[in-house]
Assembly symmetry: C3
Homo-oligomer: 134 residues x 3
């Protein structure tokens, strides 16, 4: 299964929890794991809190301090997005979340986010649901 | 399966390798993958060395340099733990480890740790063992 | 399955995409997920762009700014590689990539890298391919 997401800013966190929950529901798989994969090198996937939307701002600001947007990166002379590549490696492009009773076992304070580091772009997410035989 | 861990400090790494190895043994699953998931947004899971316990101290100190405890985070006005949320995203909340001959295929210098960034708290870990048909 | 890789530098990114693609081809598994696991605590696995090889240099340089090679780490008095351990936790030691039509679903700009942070050393990668019943 694939999910297509259009980012609208250069950097932003987009909550995709509801879209993934709908796919799980439709799959009718009760017990197993859900694997999300982002086939892009200047974005990432993460899980964090969205009850306070400020965390999204804090996270992007903190990543930009760790990985400045421009810092004499060699890649910037070809494509001006080296920092986005580095942040993609730090955060990661895949997530695996357990499923129980046909429901994602996210914590109370956990939502799933696409992290756009070089938008706006159209991004795809590949979803695999692996059924547990137990 | 779930494992419950009580952290006792505000920040600490807790070695959970033996607990996970016992669950694998009891599962009797010989070949497959073991998936660990932490349903919390201010903690993380990682794999690193514990033969020298100093690595735990070095790792926490280094993370606190990258993500200072207080840095005008917007979320700190609501709940004073924005840095813990950011570190959770950097380290990650899930791990997948191969199983062979009913044993976790950890390297000689690898142990599994719960990373507490906003304790002391009670933390749960959800464990799924996926059998490989090969 | 295991793959053995000899690094030749102290720090380097080694592209292992072709080796993994060959293993998938030989497995004849059409739909599922491919799990890669590195049983080492001073190296990591990541996915990023290799079309411009400069990204490898930018990534290592950026990680070395975030985690200086020497910074009064306690572990350095025992084994002079604390920074390599910390970078292993930041980047991570496992990857899961979907397989469709017997092909890894990597994005156009995605290659798989072994990240050596304390070489030269011989490194193993454990590969599990989980077939999807759907």
């Amino acid at each position: 299964m694939e999910l297509s997401i259009q980012s609208t800013n250069n950097q932003e966190l987009i909550d995709i929890t509801k879209e993934i929950e709908t796919l799980i529901l439709n799959s009718k798989i009760k017990e197993g794991i859900c694997h999300l994969y982002l086939p892009h090198a200047t974005a990432a996937l993460t899980i964090n809190e969205n009850a306070d939307p400020n965390i999204k701002t804090d996270l992007l600001k903190s990543l930009n301090k760790m990985v400045p947007l421009h810092d004499n990166y060699l890649h910037d002379s070809i494509d001006n997005n080296a920092a986005a590549h580095i942040k993609s490696t730090l955060v990661g492009v895949s997530l695996t979340i357990p499923i129980s009773s046909n429901t994602l076992q996210l914590g109370t304070w956990q939502d799933i986010f696409l992290c756009e580091f070089d938008g706006p772009r159209n991004r795809n997410i590949i979803i695999n649901i692996i059924q547990n035989k137990q």
